[in-house]
């Protein structure tokens, strides 16, 4: 804090803002963050970017239809609205305390979600080739299509394993069932991002609670807790993940996305628990905790109001590496054929790149592989520079 005071005309920056500013000083984290923003955009607006249904079609019989909007699922509407609300809350109401903005956003989003899931009922049957038929018959006067005019599950089995080409418009080629790789990439980003963020949050919550309890109480709680941590640390995480996914009850298959989030979450909490524990063990000897105790503050208050915020910063660094790890875990599971059924996934596409006859489909390896790599790299870059920004020792060295 002394460093700040020495600066001329100091803008009143909070600790968070300061860390953010330090984090984004280098080129690397900026590029990383930019990629994450692009990816979030792709994930949120996936059906508006890659869809077999055009936005609007005017046919020769004079009718104007909007197939894309008719076939939108509730989540396709809810996600963009929630994102817009978040942007609004962040940019427009800067004066209002962050806590209130967050609360309002959560409430509004829940309302939007509920409204979407209650009101939007897309048709049960997908008729991808309807528009194509119309074009073939010469019935279409004009149409506005999405930049990638293919849905991820729009399979044309006569177009298997097409190499990338501009004509036909298959920028990243097609996969084994004749679906568009680019479209699948875009839609897969949604799953990857969701699993990465939510699985890490789950791991974080479990880790912080267990680690916090261990660090605060120490003694026998710590001893038992450490054994628990050791148990989970001794089994290779990926091995545990494999067992859990493989033995999952088949009734959960429709919710496999959520199950995978939970599974990746509960195999990943050990690191956070250790971190929080160590941090708490360090903090509990410090003056401010002692004085809080001397003041007779209740346990929960000390734990969560005083100790947690102080111990949190380094944990967040770990979390950003954690997201990268979760995305990797998801793609590896999908690669091994244990991922979601009939859903696009980067890992699954990667596994298809070497076919049974041994011919190598480079586009099936390169594009999904790069997507995984760039995302993981971006999170690691951000995490790295976040760590440098938080840690006063390396702050000088943070050259990235």
């Amino acid at each position: 804090m002394t460093r700040l005071a020495l600066q001329p005309a100091p803008p009143r920056l909070t600790y968070l803002q300061m860390v953010l500013r330090d984090t984004l000083r280098g080129v690397g984290p900026r590029v990383g963050l930019a990629w994450l923003v692009v990816l979030t955009f792709l994930a949120v607006f996936a059906p508006f970017l890659a869809n077999s249904y055009p936005y609007a079609v005017r046919t020769t019989d004079g009718s104007l239809s909007f197939p894309l909007f008719r076939y939108l699922r509730p989540v396709d509407v809810a996600l963009p609205v929630m994102t817009l609300l978040a942007l609004l809350a962040w940019r427009l109401f800067g004066r209002v305390p962050a806590r209130w903005r967050l609360l309002v956003w959560v409430l509004a989003s829940s309302a939007v979600c509920a409204a979407c899931f209650l009101t939007i009922k897309p048709p049960l049957r997908q008729t991808y080739d309807r528009y194509r038929e119309q074009v073939k018959q010469g019935e279409v006067i004009w149409a506005i299509t999405t930049p990638i005019p293919y849905s991820p599950s729009d399979r044309l089995s006569e177009l298997r394993f097409l190499a990338p080409s501009a004509s036909p418009w298959r920028l990243m080629g097609t996969e084994g069932n004749g679906a568009d790789v680019f479209s699948r990439m875009v839609h897969a980003s949604r799953i990857a991002m969701a699993i990465g963020l939510i699985a890490t949050s789950i791991a974080l919550v479990i880790g912080v609670i267990v680690g916090g309890l261990m660090g605060y109480f120490s003694g026998i709680v710590d001893l038992i807790g450490m054994r628990l941590v050791e148990i989970f640390a001794a089994v290779p995480t990926f091995f545990l993940l494999l067992i859990l996914v493989a033995v999952m009850p088949p009734e959960w298959n429709p919710y496999k996305l959520y199950v995978m989030m939970v599974i990746i979450g509960i195999t990943g909490w050990v690191g956070y628990a250790r971190f929080v524990r160590a941090e708490f063990l360090r903090l509990r000897e410090q003056d401010f905790v002692t004085s809080a105790r001397a003041c007779g503050l209740p346990l929960s208050s000390i734990l969560f109001r005083h100790m947690l915020p102080n111990g949190m910063a380094p944990v967040l660094v770990e979390a950003s590496f954690g997201v990268a790890g979760a995305i990797l875990a998801e793609s590896t599971l999908s690669f091994l054929g244990l991922g979601l059924v009939d859903q696009p996934s980067w890992g699954q596409m990667l596994s298809e790149s070497i076919s049974g006859t041994g011919s190598f489909k480079w586009w099936m390896a390169f594009f999904p592989g790069m997507a995984i790599f760039l995302t993981v790299f971006a999170y690691n870059l951000v995490g790295e520079s976040l760590r440098d920004a938080i840690d006063p020792h390396t702050r000088k060295v943070a050259a990235l």
Binding site: R125, R155, G176, P250, T357, S359
Partner: protein, 702 residues
């Protein structure tokens, strides 16, 4: 600072590591040598055995000669020449070895060279009786022989170890006995219902064990269960009745010149021992025991005569006795049952090939059979057979392209690609053919779920579903033409199938019409709906893990979707899939039945008695007429009559479509051109022991 870790220490450490590595490598090298030495040792033992036996035989012979015995050439059998092989002029006997004799009469026949094949998996075990997979069975077929073999072209049984047999059909006595005994038993059980209690209890336990709810007392289900128990009780009483006449008695006369690969003669006691070993409850072969349950007794009457008795008349009875592999008693007796269960490499027999070491093979070691130099018949051409284990499709194909594999079973995709490659076709002959028996894939439509009829209960719906599946297109696009649509459970060319029935063509219009008749009409969104407005939706369950399956399912989904039927894919791991099928908890499922025996028995899939207790009629399909036909056919020993009955079954199945029969898949293989006498026969290709490589073209040593 005394214990500072310096540069010198580093060097010492590195040196230490190097020394350890060298020691390890030399140990590996010794291990390799040791394996070779063991195989050599084993060869020497066999040779010594042989020599001592030959000496004793020569001694006997010279004794006889001294006494002055005339040597007469018996008619109809081959003359023994000095090398134990027949002269080309001798007439070829009509037994299981005629293929070998024929091969040896070819002018350019030569012994030597090796056939290298590749399996797509690791062989788990080759130990007789306890092997668990197809691959184990394949290896066995070269090492172990049976009493008689089915000719691969005419499909009739030819003598092998047995020189002749006699079949006594007592099924008339049996039927008469049954006609008399059954009413007696029925009266007895109806008089005293408590007799059924132990069986009922067993059935209820079975239900709870498989996670189903036992029926309420007095309910229809409960009554059905009691009726089942009554049937079972009667069967059991009949089975345990010592006065029951055997339905069939088969007596085999064995040849006297058959020897195991270690030179020990094969006698009727070996036959009896093989059956006893299989029936030992400790042996890990419960499925085999169950299969041969109909065999009541097996007895060596003297050294070269065996008698088999069968409980019930059944068209497969003779096949069971004749086709069972005969094991050497003196060899397997050495081991405890635990050993036979857990050792993967205990394999010895009287066949054309033998394991280099009959005891110590283990998974991961090279799977190699060498020619049985002691073979009692004419010796085959190839000196050794090798099976490589290459799990990845890609690596297997790479090895093939490098010329390391002589017999390559390609996938349709690989076959299609390689067939166009001139480098390959100049060296290998491509074969694609429908072997007999072939399995077939199908979609099974569940008729009853949780006691209620499903949407597939009406046969018109099932017919419509078949019309909606473009099997030609699946065969062309997924199987690249190396499969053909099929109309029923029997091989299309077999006599069991009605030759007039052709698979239904893809015809969505007809399908929609049929569905309309039942009450499914397209709604505003194009989805078919019934009068209540419910959409036509179902889940198709299938085993996960196969790309081919996955692609077929996607095609089905798209084509149903076009017709307005909503299908949800539900791939499941095999164990869970089976659980679903056993519990009848599915709408429709896709699966394939394997080849089975040459004359297929359809009772387990389509007979109504196979619905209860998780048996294999998992669609709960009932047709009393079909039941009667199946029972009749199974009891009929006369072949022509039986075939008529099977054809009638085929017609009913075609009309009812309990399954939509999808495809029969062709075998697609490449075989090195240096092998001569590779022939297409009814079952596929002739046995590889009948192939040979002319002297100049031999490529591999032993």
């Amino acid at each position: 600072m005394e214990n500072r870790f310096g540069f010198k220490d580093l060097v010492t450490l590195v040196l230490l590591v190097v020394v350890i590595a060298m020691v390890y490598l030399s140990m590996v090298q010794f291990d390799r040598q040791w394996d070779d030495i063991k195989a050599l040792n084993n060869n020497i033992t066999t040779l010594t055995n042989n020599q001592s036996q030959m000496r004793s035989q020569i001694d006997k012979l010279s004794e006889k000669l001294d006494k002055g015995v005339a040597i007469v050439q018996p008619n109809g059998t081959h003359t023994a020449t000095t090398d134990g092989n027949p002269t080309p002029t001798a007439s070829i006997p009509n037994n299981g070895l005629h293929g070998l004799y024929e091969a040896r009469t070819e002018p350019d026949f030569a012994e030597g060279d090796t056939v290298v094949d590749a399996f797509g998996t690791q062989i788990k075990s080759v130990t007789a009786l306890t092997y668990k997979d197809l691959y184990g069975r394949r290896i066995q077929s070269f090492v172990i022989e049976s009493l008689a073999v089915q000719d691969d072209d005419t499909l009739e049984f030819l003598p092998l170890i047995a020189e002749s047999w006699k079949i006594d059909d007592h099924s008339k006595d049996y039927d008469a006995y049954l006609a008399k005994k059954k009413p007696e038993l029925e009266a007895k059980v109806d008089a005293d219902a408590t007799l059924l209690d132990p069986i009922r209890k067993g059935m209820l336990d079975e239900l709870t064990k498989t996670g189903q709810k036992p029926p309420e007392p007095g309910s229809d289900d409960d009554k059905a269960l009691t009726a089942d128990a009554r049937e079972k009780w009667i069967d059991q009483q009949v089975r345990d009745d010592p006065e029951r006449p055997s339905a069939l008695v088969v007596t085999f006369k064995l040849r006297k010149d058959v020897r195991f690969s270690d030179g020990v003669p094969l006698t009727a006691h070996d036959v009896q021992f093989s059956w006893e070993l299989m029936n030992n409850p400790l042996l890990n072969a419960p499925e085999t025991r169950n299969f041969y349950d109909n065999v009541e007794s097996y007895k060596a009457l003297d050294d070269y005569t065996v008698e088999f008795r069968f409980r019930e008349p059944n068209f497969l009875a003779f096949d069971m006795a004749a086709g069972f592999g005969i094991l050497p008693k003196h060899f397997y007796e050495k081991f405890s049952i635990e050993d036979i269960n857990s050792k993967p490499g205990l394999l010895m027999g009287s066949g054309r090939y033998r394991m280099p070491d009959p005891e110590s093979w283990a998974p991961g070691k090279l799977m190699k059979l060498v020619r049985n130099e002691n073979y009692w018949g004419p010796k085959p051409g190839p000196a050794a057979l090798i099976w490589l284990e290459i799990e990845e499709d890609v690596s297997r194909m790479a090895s093939f392209k490098n010329g390391q594999i002589d017999y390559f079973a390609a996938t349709s995709e690989q076959f299609d690609e390689l067939k166009k490659d001139e480098k390959i076709t100049s060296r290998y002959t491509p074969f694609n053919y429908l072997p007999v028996p072939t399995g077939y894939s199908f979609v099974a439509w569940n008729v009853t779920r949780e006691g209620k009829p499903t949407i597939f209960a009406d046969k018109r719906v099932r017919q419509a579903m078949t019309y909606l599946i473009d099997r030609q297109r699946i065969a062309k696009e997924v199987m690249l033409g190396y499969a053909s649509p099929t109309s029923g459970p029997f091989d299309d060319k077999s006599r069991q199938a009605d030759p007039d029935i052709k698979p239904r063509e893809y015809d969505p219009k007809k399908a929609l019409e049929l569905l309309k008749q039942v009450g499914w009409k397209p709604g505003a969104d194009g989805v078919l709906r019934n009068a209540k407005g419910e959409p036509f939706a179902f889940t198709l369950t299938y085993p996960s893990g196969s790309d081919t399956y996955e692609r077929i399912m996607l095609m089905l989904k798209d084509s149903f979707n076009r017709a307005g039927i909503l299908m949800t894919q539900d791939p499941q791991q095999w164990s869970i899939f089976i659980e679903r099928v056993d519990g009848r908890a599915f709408d429709a499922c896709a699966l394939a039945w394997g080849g089975g025996s040459i004359e297929g028995d359809i009772r387990q899939m389509f007979h109504s008695s196979q619905i209860a207790n998780g048996a294999n009629n998992f669609t709960s399909y009932i047709n009393p007429e079909l039941d009667k036909l199946i029972d009749e056919a199974r009891r009929t020993i006369d072949e022509d009559k039986r075939m008529k009955l099977w054809q009638a079954c085929h017609r009913i199945l075609y009309e009812d479509q309990p399954y939509t029969f999808l495809l029969r898949r062709q075998s697609t293989t490449f075989i090195d051109k240096r092998f001569h006498n590779v022939k297409r026969v009814t079952t596929g290709l002739n046995d590889r022991s009948e192939w040979y490589v002319p002297a100049g073209q031999q490529l591999r040593g032993e």
